[in-house]
Subunit: 85 residues, 2 copies
């Protein structure tokens, strides 16, 4: 068994509105932060997982992301996978 560490980033698809992000952008302007042209809020999930090999770890994380972490109708996800040595 090897230990893997992954970070999964879940973001709204570009075509999907982000009301929380818009509200934060408005608040940032009121706070005096200049030049902000985009602000979108997504999720970042940090995972430690034991698996036989990298392929197996990827498979488990893909299942997890597709089924539990992201809503495929409105969200995309990407992963960074590291092996702990």
């Amino acid at each position: 068994m090897s230990k893997f560490r992954a970070r999964i980033l879940v973001s709204l698809r570009p075509s999907v509105l982000d009301p929380a992000g818009e509200a934060t952008k408005t608040a940032a302007n009121q706070l005096g932060i200049k030049g902000l042209s985009k602000l979108r809020i997504g999720k970042s999930i940090d995972i430690d997982i034991d698996a036989l090999n990298e392929e197996e770890a990827k498979k488990q994380i893909e299942l997890l992301s597709d089924r539990l972490l992201a809503n495929p109708v409105i969200e995309d996800w990407s992963m960074e996978l590291l092996q702990v040595v």
Copy 2:
């Protein structure tokens, strides 16, 4: 003016409980995902900002993160900053 792109990662401090992460971990086990030893959910914020230079962009993003994106009592944040060329 230069264009900068930043990703801010906001995570719960290690000492703070993450009930959503725990619930997701339990659901993952029920789904048959093996070997998961850690699952913590945070936020990922993607930003485009115009600023005179890197230092100015960093200053604005630090203000934004400290005041609007993270709750410093229970959360830490980190940023990756890129200049768009």
